[in-house]
Amino acid sequence: MTVAVIQFGGSNCDRDAVRALNYLGIDAERVWHEDGLPEDTTGIMLPGGFSYGDYLRAGAMAARSPIMAEVREAADDGVPVLGVCNGAQVGSESGLTAGAFTTNKSARFQCEHVHLRVENADTPWTEEFDEGDVIEVPIAHGEGRFEITDERYDELEANDQILFRYCDADGNLTDEANPNGSTGNVAGILGDDDSVAVLMPHPERATLPDVGGTDGADVLTGFRV
């Protein structure tokens, strides 16, 4: 069982991701995008960073690299895929999930801790939680504002595809707790299948006890399923 953490030029959270997964007893290795997916891949993580310098739009170039066709194929076969931060932008740009992540409302890069409310606890990524649980994880992004058409947003809600929303410490969905102006305070969503998820916050940066909170660990354990 090996989680392939895909490294694009400009990825910079790939080592953190491997270390966090290994700490949880999940076998993981970095895979250079040009090398293609290893045969023993049982999970795929798209890590954070600035792939291709965020040129054009964050994630746009990486989303169209050949390995992403393999990732989409694997996702169709039920292989779990998690996109974090730049990985979420890549996932969204590649059509694994709906909507788009674009420039923060503040027009600034934001690096801070946020609270997330679990909206759907019946997924591999949230089965350790209950619906409504509040977790604390860090964000670090300039293009994290979730945008989507009203029609597609309604579909996401109707299909229970919203995974996490930004909230305050008590779980209230307020504008103040929405760090980037995301539609509906959305921080993370599911693909057509709940084995595919993307989120802007960094669970891998909230997994090792030595570096602070560990609320993110229970998200990464989704790869154990």
Partner: protein, 87 residues
Amino acid sequence: MTAYTATVTVRLKHGVLDPEAETTKQALDRLGFELSALRSADRYEIDLEADGADEAEARADEMAERLLANPTIHDYEVSVVEAAAAQ
């Protein structure tokens, strides 16, 4: 084959927040300019050889569709001129 320059203009759909444009507007306000709104757009100029303007436009259109624009947030338009005319 004729040399053409296709210009692809990509802009945010009406109603999608543009924080960079808003920040730019505020800077112009501070410089004393009077303006009621500012919108930004990205423009790509693509030199290509094609049998005719229609083909050049169709290819530039596909480039916009597949990479240059994100249909969730963007509208785009394509215009084509013969390269000699563009210079």
